[in-house]
Amino acid sequence: MDVELFIKQIINSLNTGSIYALVAIGYTMVYGIIRLINFAHGEIMMFGAYFAFIIATSIPVGLPFFVIVLVSMALAALMGILTEKIAYKKLRTAPRISALITAIGMSLFLQNLAQLIFGANPKVMPQVISNEPIMFGNIAVPQVMMYTISMSIGIMILLTLFVKKTRAGKAMRAVSQDKEAAMLMGININGIISLTFAIGSALGALGGIFYSIAYSQVYPTLGVMTGLKAFIAAVFGGIGNIGGAMIGGYAIGFIETMTKGYISSRWSDAIVFGVLILILLFKPSGILGKNVKEKV
């Protein structure tokens, strides 16, 4: 076995896994708070990538990478809050299926909106991160992968601390446990839901930006397959559980990359989805999910 190749594939896995994990967190946080599978999340990711594309191409002075990322994330967060206020808020008490259908509608709407604004052809993402790889002995690691992996892990640690240690994080956990009780305790539910959408959307946008830089293109359906795989990652880890989404993201990234590298790229999707079915057969609530008894 070629050790060097194996290490490279591990790095590739960490890279795709980081992107899936970032996007999966958005699915899982929103589900945790309002029990909605937000299918438009993949489209927020796509818009995040377009925001970065617009900022990087329209402003002539080469802005530093972090500025581009922060502005795009802020715009995506705003977009996430708006979709919730416009499309989902009224449906909070409606049957879950109505909200789900609305989310699918929102997803298609945003996709078509992007197509209308930007056209269907892929746009070439400018190289905002140097394309000079960093050498570790014989192993060349693209700089964009270094950024993706390190920033994703850093942000996930910050997010965990935020949810565990801060007042807002505590409120978020309270709302996810019992909305009515949290409201009685004086928690501003609308504010917390908006905050959840904002954080999830910003992380999704970050995933989209890394995705479009690493793979050099932005296009209106960019969020569809990646969004679906990130959703699988969230279910895999136990939907509603942030740590689970991270583990799920890296697991899916690992399975996919290793299949492409050692079996055949023809099989990668089949194996990813097959593993999902197996996990759900033996542990229906996902790896870290808890079996919550429905109240009758």
Binding site: P122, Y215, T257, S265
Partner: protein
């Protein structure tokens, strides 16, 4: 209702007859292509290329002492529209030969009709292998997909620039074009060396990092990557990010890659019908005249249509007639040397045996490396 129908029929007969009456003093070539809609860029290039050739021929005295006339109709890229256009060209305009259809699908739809009519057909751009099969009257000016793959293998193995004996192949398994080129490349290269890795990607893939690392870890000296600009550009970008310095070779789907991906495509090779930067006199003149007439630079389709008209006229001159049987026989024996897209001879099927221009991307420009002919 019935009366109306009779009236309409009578009127159309009158128009038909009058159309026939006005056409004795010119040789007519029909052109069919998508002139409107999403694919109009292809059809218009073919129409322009054909018209440019006709203008030049007329200025030089015409064909058989008569004027050459190009009549172009729109197929919208749709086989049914293509058949309508063909019927109109045959019945109303009484064309002597057909240059078209531009698309394989349209050409296949016209093929059976043209066979019954014994119409000489020379399609500039239909690459599907079935187009010329079992139809003695149908020829094409472009090479087929598999021919491109074969020539790429010859180039990868024999050229001094690459001279590889070990190759890796990476193709799009969801695309018949990409797969066709890859299969032909593998078949030819295996007779000369070894294909050490054959890898695929799917239409929806964006992440090529793991397959690229597999290629980098193999001892391949060249990578054959048949595909279109969007996917090839993404793959070359990721290869560049990983500092993989094995040369990549592609087919005519790479045409235009320098627009968005000049830096990552730098130093790589692809085969095309012709190169704008070719210094052969016929190419220089063609590019200059085309730009003067139409204001933009000609793509490969325009060059092929231009050559197709010249080849058809050469066959008519050889036959000394516009009689269909004589033209077809002359096309079968044609050896037209002075073409923009390389010399044109036809094999038994009516497919061209011609050289492919191998191009290297150097500083964002097309540098002609070699002209390679498959065996």
């Amino acid at each position: 209702m019935k009366k109306l129908l009779v009236l309409a029929l009578t009127l159309s007969t009158v128009f038909l007859l009058s159309a026939c009456g006005s056409s004795v003093d010119s040789v007519k070539l029909g052109v069919i292509g998508p002139l409107t809609g999403d694919y109009s860029m292809y059809g218009l290039a073919v129409e322009n290329g054909a018209k440019l050739a006709a203008d030049e021929i007329n200025a030089a005295g015409g064909v058989l002492g008569l004027d050459l006339e190009i009549i172009a109709y729109d197929s919208k890229g749709d086989p049914t529209e293509g058949v309508n256009a063909y019927n109109r060209l045959r019945d109303e305009d009484e064309i002597d030969a057909l240059i078209g259809g531009t698309f394989s699908g349209v050409t296949l739809a016209i093929k059976e009709l043209a066979k019954e009519d014994n119409m000489p057909v020379l399609t500039p751009t239909a690459t599907n292998p079935d187009v010329t099969l079992e139809a003695g009257n149908v020829f094409r000016a472009c090479y087929t997909d598999s021919y491109q793959g074969t020539v790429a293998a010859v180039f990868a193995n024999e050229s001094t620039e690459i001279g590889a004996s070990k190759a890796a192949v990476l193709y799009n398994r969801d695309d018949a074009y990409s797969e066709g080129l890859a299969m032909a490349f593998i078949a030819e290269f295996e007779t000369r060396g070894t294909v050490v890795e054959t890898l695929t990607f799917g239409a929806g893939d964006d992440d090529y990092s793991s397959v690229l690392d597999v290629i980098a870890a193999s001892d391949a000296e060249v990578v054959f990557l048949p595909g279109y600009v969007a996917e090839v550009g993404a793959i070359l970008t990721q290869a560049d990010n990983k500092a993989i310095d094995i040369p990549f070779v592609g087919g005519d789907g790479w045409d235009g890659i320098e627009a968005d991906y000049a830096s990552v495509a730098e130093g790589n090779y692809f085969g095309n019908h012709y190169a704008k930067s070719d210094e052969a006199q016929v190419v220089v003149d063609f590019v200059a005249n085309y730009e003067a007439s139409f204001g933009d630079s000609p793509n490969a389709l325009a060059a092929l249509a231009y050559d197709a008209v010249y080849a058809m006229v050469a066959a008519m001159e050889d036959a000394e007639s516009t009689d269909a049987d004589l033209i077809i026989a002359a096309l079968a024996g044609l050896d037209y040397q002075n073409a923009v897209t390389g010399s044109i001879r036809f094999d038994a099927n009516g497919d061209p045996i011609k050289s492919i221009t191998m191009i290297q991307i150097v500083s964002g420009e097309h540098l002609v490396i070699d002209k390679v002919e498959g065996s």
